[in-house]
């Protein structure tokens, strides 16, 4: 259902060749994507499981932060050794031109076995000046190139008489399900994701950059969640989950992974997770760094131990202060939350992170990919039964 909305949404305002590309990818998706039948997927909350105590925003998604938009391109084609299960997800921090209006940002690298481009500049300037792209490891160069083309296209002076940008492109390794070495993504795919970007509900699971990802021994991918803070602010988190082993998986504190009894769970090594937090609370970069660290706490609550070969990279941004590039005069009038009132933002961050990761698992469908490798969707019936057994179900 959600997928159909996605296609409809994507067709608005794009040319026919682009639409054709999109149809092609959808056709491939139907042919190769859902090789194994699977129970209908749900979000964690639809299973009756609530994380924490704070209330989610209207879409329970990063897009609840006003202006934040998310777009996916999903590429599913071929079988056997040439199976491609990859894609790209783009997050726009606000609806204006981010080149002209920067927002404050910071990061935290829990485990540096991964790539997030643009970090040197982001940490130096304390600002996010580009959309954020999430993709497969070997696609980074192509996505980066497309991002530069896109940004220089809408900002003609970029790199000529005005500042150059370093786009933020982050990756996880999707080689279990996809022929990653083929780098079967094109700049058109990236432009497509940009065009698909919209507010409202976000498609989750094996879509966009999350297409080929696996997590906690199951099919992983994109997940998102949000929390309201004091009825005033929103914190939203979006993850691309490709980390964790099955034994570690915990849902709301319950060791669900250890209790699942079915035998198919091999999804290769644990890899990485990229976590993006957005808020409309007025935070300065040093405060966003502290929020980034709380994102890591949310990750820990899903049972992840940040494996040696897991690139666990976190970026947080605040949309409250817009730094105008062409500001006349030397000063900006900004707002900053009082450090001693920031704790509710931390709580929202930890809760939303945990739920976003779990949403990626509950939303992702079983997928068969490269060399017949299959990543199974988290068995929702079993999960429910296990949580009920632990008397933690809310009905």
């Amino acid at each position: 259902m959600r997928r159909r909305n996605f296609i409809k949404g994507a067709l608005v305002g794009i040319s026919w060749p682009q639409a054709e590309t999109l149809f092609k990818s959808v056709r491939f998706q139907q042919k190769g994507g859902n090789a194994v039948s699977d129970a209908p997927r749900k979000r964690l909350r639809e299973l009756g499981i609530q994380i924490g105590t704070l209330e989610p925003g209207p879409c329970n998604a990063i897009t609840d932060v006003d202006g934040v938009k998310v777009g996916h391109t999903t590429i599913v084609k071929g079988d056997g050794s040439q199976a491609v299960r990859t894609g790209v997800t783009v997050i726009f921090p606000h609806s204006g031109n981010i080149y002209e209006e920067e927002v404050f940002a910071s990061s935290f690298i829990l485990n540096g076995w991964g790539e997030m481009t643009g970090m040197a500049r982001l940490e130096q300037t304390g600002k996010l000046e580009t959309p954020i792209f999430l993709t497969g490891t070997y696609n980074v160069g192509i996505v980066y190139d497309a991002a530069v083309r896109y940004l220089s296209g809408i900002n003609p002076e970029m790199g000529i008489s005005d500042k150059m940008l370093t786009p933020v492109v982050a990756e996880c390794f999707d080689e279990f399900l996809s022929d990653a070495r083929s780098r079967a993504i094109s700049k058109e795919d990236v432009f497509q994701a940009i065009m698909n970007a919209q507010g409202g509900s976000v498609e989750e699971g094996g879509v966009g950059g999350g297409t080929g990802m696996t997590a906690f021994g199951f099919k992983g991918g994109i997940g998102t969640s949000s929390r309201k803070v004091d009825g005033q602010y929103i914190v939203g988190v979006l993850v691309m989950a490709n980390t964790g082993s099955r034994d570690q998986l915990r849902i709301d504190g319950i060791p669900v992974g250890k209790e699942i009894t079915d035998s198919h769970s091999k999804t290769g090594k644990t890899k990485s997770i990229i976590l993006i937090a957005a808020t409309d609370a007025p935070l300065l970069p040093y405060q966003l760094r502290k929020v980034s660290k709380r994102v890591a706490l949310g990750l820990a609550q899903t049972g992840s131990i940040s494996h040696t070969e897991s690139g666990d990279i976190i970026l947080a941004f605040s949309t409250a202060n817009r730094i105008l590039r062409k500001k006349a005069g030397p000063f900006h009038n900004l707002k900053a939350i009082n450090d001693f009132w920031i704790t509710p933002v931390y709580q929202a961050t930890v809760e939303a992170t945990q739920e976003a990761i779990l949403n990626a698992l509950t939303s992702a469908q079983t997928m068969t990919g490269r060399d017949g490798n299959t990543a199974y969707g988290l068995p929702l019936g079993q999960v429910k039964a296990i949580i009920r057994k632990f008397k933690r179900i809310r009905e």
Binding site: P285, K290, L334, K335, F340
Partner: protein, 349 residues
Amino acid sequence: MNNGKEIIGRMKHRMGKFSPGKKNSITDIQGVRVGHLTVNKDVLDPSGQSVTVRTGATAVIPYPAEREMRIFTGSFILCGKGEVTGYQVADDFCYLNSPIVLTNSFSVGKAYNAILSYGFDLGREETWPPFIIGLDDSFLSDMKKSTLDEEQILSALREASKELVEEGSVGIGLGLRAFGWKGGIGTSSRVITMGNEQFTCGVLVATNNGNPRQTKNTGSDGDPTTYPDDSLIIVGGVDVPLVPYQLKLIAKRLVLSESCLHRAENYSSSVVCILFSTANPMSMENQGPRVFDMQVMDDKLLEKIIQAGTEAVLEAIIRSLLKAAPVQGKSGRVLKTIPDDEIGKLLRE
């Protein structure tokens, strides 16, 4: 006596683009005060051994200390060697809520206690965490037996004034050694004009760094080149409205500005820089508004502040050397004031 003015005049291309403030001192920033306590004595310890005490404390009070508030800070440590207390809050929460005290490494605990007492005495809820930087002055001083007491640190804090800052072998500067010559305290400031407004950037340095090989000064006791380098401390302040990432960026640059006095072999010095902005004071814990409105300078103007700050750091380092009167310390060691031509070498004129 050296002619500091002449040397600084000669170096105008490197430290004279911006004009100094009225006092050419960190106290040119509104509200900033500096106090020294100097202890220069030879005493006998209980076992009858003579103890050479060449130490002290230097306090920088960045804002009227009785006021319950905090200010933004940015810090950078290149190769940390000594103690820096209060650093976790300064680095993570990026604020300063305490005077800054420079003293010898063995007096850090006493200084910690003294800053807390100082705050309580002023009626503050707390001045925590105290920001203390420990320096190793053991080349001239019997540091292990020269622990200052709380009263002595308190007197440096209480006597802090906004007047002209005494420089050279004073306060913690008494026992310091830099480039094989007498080191000490130096200060300088620069005025920065932005639009119709004037701002001040001021620094205070304690020079206890620099390898003697650089100036070929062998000193009087064996081969002082084998004596370990310690640290250069830079305490800087601005009244420009800056937020932490900007202050940290400038702090890094100020640390770098010192490197032009170094040669490649001089690898072991540590540099500690703490920079604060008095422009956006904030209320303390659970007080004040949930959200602060603040004016913040545009990043494009950072370069100007970095230039001005770099000039001030260079001049403060030179002044700390030029103003440092010779001191005789333990084991008959003497550190002399750096001669003018050696300054030239140091600056690689």
